[in-house]
């Protein structure tokens, strides 16, 4: 995968950390997954590789439809404010990514740039889930982590396992569907998909 594509993936990952509008974040993670799917299909050498790339594309389209539908059905009066302002969020995410790249020196992928991109996307995904309050954005953080891991699977030397890659895509869809059920119920109860409303369980 070229350096430009890797940089584009990382930059779009940072956008997920800072952008306020849910629909834009859905578009960004979908575009990321589609770029990965196109790259997988372009570099496919066996039927299994084509199947894995197809699974990634299918996952991207299904999740895009699911999330776009839920954004349309649960319109927020105003975007849910995160606990941490966007610039500080971006700073924390970048520091976390740098720490991860420093702590994990070698993953064994085909290029060091790809390794850094994988770790950065994982860090940005975790930061999104941890620092944002909107329920839908927390789940999109999980999808961002999975996009990073899909990039890793794509850049692994040697043969890939289509069974495991299909399974990962299927599991992510299952988790996303359940998350959407929760989001809709939370929205129905509190009028916003805001995790700040869910703070009663404390010891």
């Amino acid at each position: 995968m070229t350096g430009f594509v890797l940089w584009a993936l990382v930059a779009s990952g940072l956008a997920v950390v800072v952008v306020r509008r849910r629909s834009v974040v859905v578009a960004v993670v979908t575009a990321q997954a589609l770029v990965l799917a196109v790259a997988a299909l372009y570099e496919a050498e066996t039927a299994d590789d084509v199947l894995a790339g197809g699974a990634l594309a299918t996952r991207a389209v299904i999740l895009a439809a699911l999330f776009a539908g839920v954004v349309a059905r649960t319109r927020e009066r105003a975007p849910v404010h995160a606990r941490v302002p966007p610039l500080l969020r971006a700073g924390l995410a970048v520091v976390f990514a740098l720490a991860l790249v420093w702590l994990i020196p070698d993953i064994g992928l085909e290029s060091r740039d790809a390794e850094r991109a994988v770790l950065t996307l994982v860090a940005f995904g975790i930061a999104t889930a941890g620092l944002r309050r909107a329920t839908l954005l927390q789940i999109l953080g999980l999808v961002l982590v999975e996009n990073g891991l899909a990039l890793a699977a794509l850049e692994l030397p040697g043969e890939s396992s289509v069974a495991v890659e299909l399974g990962v895509a299927f599991d992510l869809m299952l988790v996303s569907i359940v998350a959407v059920v929760f989001h809709q119920r939370i929205f129905g109860l509190f009028g916003a998909g805001d995790t700040a409303a869910l703070r009663s369980l404390r010891d």
Binding site: D106, V122, Q138, L156, S161, F182, F190, L201, D203
Partner: protein, 485 residues
């Protein structure tokens, strides 16, 4: 394929098919079909457990499927807790309301998710491949999160949401660890069978990082401290039969995967690191749990923190890996599952008898409802490790195993922490049974008869387990588990 492999495949297949039946069954038939399916699924699980344990010295170890003593033990536990949860679900559904979906769809959603959860849960100990095990564990999250939030109340939604996000993030970290392992095995991600991992060869620094990420990620699902935050909330807010399945079956099933990974990768990362990481998780979990066991907590929340303590004990037993410790692990897994499940089942009549017990400590139940008090007392007494509880025996065996393994300080620290935990739970036991009584709801508590029957069965099983414990060190089952170690 051998007959054992066919039987192993039918263990998850039976509840999976049942989940589909439940989805298409007429509305009135949903609960009877669910219960009947649970009986069949438990029968199949019991058959596999019996066969796997009887032939512990001759395991089936394929690239995708493994039928050994550990698989037999844990599939048996899933079958027993699953069946008892299905039986108690009838009373729960009779008294519960659901806000997650329209009320008329509640039983169908409940039974569908319950049986789907059972199917993937039963498959976890049978997975012969780390990649497949990861997929199954992630799938348990989706099915069980729906059940945790089943009531649709704000607290249940909070618990379900935390469970979904935190365990999925943890499993994402574990998957990163798996990806790091993949370049070192032939066949990429598909070559991650336990036997392939045992002979893995590669950059030791990368393998160490992969191992730590994998275990830390799985720890989030096992409920080991400090990544256990979802556990008290999910266990306390889920429907009681689901809490039983989460605590008695899900946590130990994921623990098996953590243990298999630990043992398979130990030659590559070093025996000391592999064991020390488990010891660290064990001791930290115990240390985190103790302060909460000393506090006056609502019944289900108290049981949830006790799960944290017991998962810590199991981590220690698996790390010590001597004949004594491994015998302790076997007794602890079974005893904990029975006692904890009984405690959660008793929550349905408890909340009907004393509704304030949902958010405040249950006190004086033995005075106002002796039968219910007996169920709560047997459960809590067993979990506290009060002799002749099998958990007393198992904890003694595990600590003795620690000394046998030469881990003197760790075993001594565990003994001290367990003694503190015993005092906390002992106090809670006295308060629950004979504390000050408050106003109680009139009439017979919901589902009390079922719980009394289950208490009788569980008491006999727990006493039998205590009696069998001294014979376990040196048995074929323990030897087979040690061979895996």
């Amino acid at each position: 394929m051998t007959s054992r492999e066919w039987l192993a495949l039918s263990v998850p297949l039976a509840p999976a098919l049942a989940a589909i039946f439940v989805c298409v069954a007429p509305r009135r038939a949903v609960s009877p079909v669910g219960l009947a399916s649970a009986c069949v699924s438990a029968l199949v699980a019991g058959a596999l457990a019996a066969v796997a344990l009887a032939r512990a010295d001759d395991p089936v170890t394929g690239d995708w499927l493994v039928v050994d003593a550990a698989a037999g033990l844990f599939v048996g536990v899933v079958g027993v807790v699953g069946l008892a949860s299905a039986i108690t679900s009838i009373a729960y559904l009779g008294s519960a309301e659901t806000g997650l979906v329209r009320p008329e769809r509640g039983p169908r959603l409940y039974w569908g998710a319950f049986l789907a959860f059972w199917a993937v849960l039963a498959a976890v100990p049978l997975a012969g491949n780390l990649g497949v095990a990861w997929l199954l564990i992630e799938a348990t999250t989706a099915a069980s999160a729906l059940l945790v939030g089943f009531s649709g109340k704000a607290r249940a939604l909070e618990a379900g949401w935390k469970y979904l996000v935190l365990t999925s993030l943890g499993l994402g970290v574990a998957l990163l660890g798996i990806v790091l392992l993949a370049p070192s095995v032939s066949g990429g991600l598909g070559g991650l069978s336990w036997s392939s991992l045992a002979s893995i060869d590669g950059d030791s620094e990368r393998l160490t990082v992969a191992f730590v990420l994998l275990l830390a990620g799985l720890a989030a699902k096992v409920g080991w401290a400090p990544v256990h935050n979802w556990l008290p909330d999910a266990h306390s807010e889920a429907p009681p039969p689901v809490s039983a399945l989460l605590s008695g079956a899900l946590l130990p099933a994921v623990l098996v995967v953590a243990w298999r990974s630990d043992r398979a990768l130990a030659p590559a990362v070093g025996e000391n690191l592999a064991a020390s990481l488990l010891v660290a998780f064990g001791l930290v979990s115990l240390a985190f749990a103790i302060p909460f066991l000393w506090r006056a907590l609502a019944w289900k929340r108290l049981l949830a923190y006790s799960s944290l303590e017991h998962m810590g004990v199991l981590a220690l037993g698996l790390a010590f890996a001597t004949p004594l410790a491994m015998a302790g692990v076997v007794v602890h897994v079974v005893g904990h599952a029975l006692a904890k499940a009984l405690g959660f089942y008793a929550a349905t009549p408890l909340l009907s008898h004393a509704p304030s017990a949902a958010s405040r400590p249950a006190t004086g139940i033995g005075r106002t409802s002796p039968a219910l008090g007996a169920s709560l007392g047997i459960s809590l007494g067993t979990l506290a490790g009060l002799p002749p509880s099998p958990l007393f025996t198992s904890e003694v065996l595990i600590i003795a195993g620690g000394f046998q393994a030469g881990r003197t300080w760790e075993a001594a620290a565990a003994a001290a922490l367990l003694a503190l935990g015993f005092l906390g739970l002992g106090h809670a036991l006295l308060e629950t049974i004979a504390g000050r009584t408050h106003r109680r709801a009139p009439g017979s508590p919901v589902g009390l008869r079922t719980v009394i029957a289950l208490t009788a069965v569980a008491t006999v099983a727990l006493l039998a387990l205590t009696a069998a414990a001294p014979w376990l060190p040196g048995s074929d089952i323990v030897d087979a588990l040690l061979e895996t170690s």
